[in-house]
Symmetry: C2
Subunit: 361 residues, 2 copies
């Protein structure tokens, strides 16, 4: 692989702008010399930051714009007045083929709305989703939707399965990723109507490009039971943030426990190599980057408050996805899946699917 790829970067996004985006890109370039970059934003600030990175300088182009979308702008506002901004232009570059992927650490809602408008959903996909890479005891899994939309029909949940599987193929290099539907129990009778109908749908179609494993519960996410976990965006977002909160809470318990006595302090000092291992395992920067899946192009959202190391993870992710041919494969998979579905609907539609399994006919 290692084919040359161009990443379009919103240099002004996030809490720090070019001072994080530029060194982040430099770090990613060290790992992946086939990369080149287009930076969009305030030229003098980008120039100043890039001057310290001669290797990056040689592989980068800067497109100046004064126009920046603020962190708290509403998606609807951003759509109306975002054209020409440092967030909009990278997505345009992906659309025209000038770049292979876009990365921004800016306003998530605005980025999602603009990406959807500029890149457009893949034919047959009603709703794009935001996918997160979630660390597990075994390695990592993909969870989607973590907040692009609230609620999802059975058909949309089934589409999410294919979208997540395509991403798992791209970033974990697993040909037939295992997929589970997040639910409040693993028995067939559990869950809401959409989840039950999605389950029936995924069981009813043969030869999916994934291994459907049925329902999984919240405690199975971190156990690494499956490669891809599908859930509608309200519960998915709450799960993601609850896990982040729990991790912080336990870190704080651990700090307090390790300073609770002189002996514990000495022990913690001696065990600092072990604590370093733990810290690395739990470092949220390692898996920084929510991906908008289901669009005709790759757009990755980096965490707004991250540093260069974290931003580089988001760029790495964008590169891997661009390099894997994910979009073409997903477009074909969705097409085949929807054809099978309409075939199945004509023949033996799953009984518990209420209405059209795709929720759009």
């Amino acid at each position: 692989m290692a084919s040359p790829k161009t990443i379009a970067l919103d240099a002004m996004g996030g809490d720090h702008g070019p001072e994080v985006v530029v060194p982040g890109a430099a770090l990613s370039l060290e790992r992946q010399p086939a990369l080149s970059f287009i930076f969009y934003g305030d030229q003098p600030r980008i120039e100043a930051a890039i001057a310290r990175h001669p290797a990056l300088r040689a592989k980068a182009r800067i497109v100046h714009t004064d126009h920046v979308i603020a962190m708290h702008e509403k998606p609807s506002q951003a759509l109306r007045r975002g054209k020409g901004s440092s967030m909009w232009l990278p997505l345009e570059a992906v659309k025209t083929g000038e770049a292979d992927a876009a990365v921004s650490a800016g306003n998530t809602g605005a980025l999602m709305a603009i990406a959807k408008l500029v890149l457009r959903p893949i034919a047959g996909i009603e709703r794009p989703a935001i996918a997160a890479i979630w660390p597990t005891i075994k390695s990592e899994c993909i969870v989607l939707d973590v907040g692009a939309n609230i609620g999802a029909t059975a058909g949309q949940l089934a589409d999410f399965s294919l979208m997540g599987a395509a991403m798992a193929r791209a970033v974990f290099h697993i040909e037939r990723p295992s997929v589970g539907l997040l639910n409040v129990g693993t028995e067939e009778m559990k869950g809401n109507e959409d989840v039950k109908a999605a389950h029936a749908l995924l069981k009813s179609i043969d030869a999916l490009p994934l291994e459907y494993k049925g329902f999984v519960e919240g405690d199975q996410i971190g156990r690494g039971t499956v490669d891809v976990i599908v859930v509608e965006g309200f519960a998915g977002n709450i799960a993601l943030k609850t896990a982040e909160g729990t991790a912080k809470q336990i870190s704080s318990y651990l700090r307090a426990a390790m300073t609770s006595s002189v002996l514990s302090k000495i022990g913690a000092f001696l065990a600092q190599g072990g604590f370093r291992v733990l810290k690395e395992k739990m470092d949220p920067r390692r898996v920084n980057g929510g991906t908008f899946l289901g669009l005709n192009g790759i757009a990755v959202k980096s965490h707004g408050g991250t540093d260069a190391f974290g931003f580089a993870s988001a760029v790495d992710l964008a590169y891997e996805m661009a390099d894997s041919g994910l979009i073409a494969r997903l477009t074909a998979d969705i097409d085949v899946f929807h054809h099978r579905l309409s075939g199945a609907a004509g023949g033996s539609q799953p009984q518990s699917a209420t209405g059209s399994p795709l929720g759009k006919a």
Copy 2:
């Protein structure tokens, strides 16, 4: 306080039956000498277990029944054939006033269904909820609904707020508990229609017996931002289990990290006092017990796999709730709230509430 209270126990519930239920009750009695117990189940097994606890023997009565509800029985089955079982009889005892609260470590769905049928919801409450005590960095909070039902209307979410506040008053001894609605963002425009309408509803009513704090996100649960967190049961159950899974995941990282080198092992040995502090903080047995809120009586569900220490926590919780006069207070609060609501609906109904705010008119 410390008024005499009788707790009715399903001696056969959970993975271990009387061998855990009996010593659990004995432990709780040590802490709270005003307690007495009625055990329901296999008399010889209960007698054998109780023989080792003379203090408990003096405060306990045994009601024999052969009839036990299995862990995997469906709620509908349990309702049809559960009468006279070791799970049903304690709830009957609460209903007749023979006991002040019931505790079971049995099948959750069956217990919920039977409790609802036997004890009946408080007038005005459409749906009972399961409340969990959730450890936070500061102390503890209450989260409901963690899985009694899927989905909730705005009016039901508002009722959950009062139910959670009543429980916080009983177990945390806070007169005006703070309450937050779990959502995917803290801005007013975020969330689904039910959550937005519940928010408008809670803001619109003056003089609630709680302090309504607006939306909270998943990462704020463990931070202890509010005393009570309200969410419908699908997302609430997923949040609870995701947090449990994350805690286990980090424990496993920690174990691996502390055995990653000889120095780490020595350090961990020296710091074992600190690790004990951490283990106690994270011990799920300390806050064992989901409570069914919104019924005319107190029913607590202990974790099925817990030991005597964990079962005792569930008994403690049942005692505290019985001792606090929770049901009478909640019944009055709900009545006042619903009257205010119908007053407000006649006058200035909140604009963003779609349809009837109580979703039942």
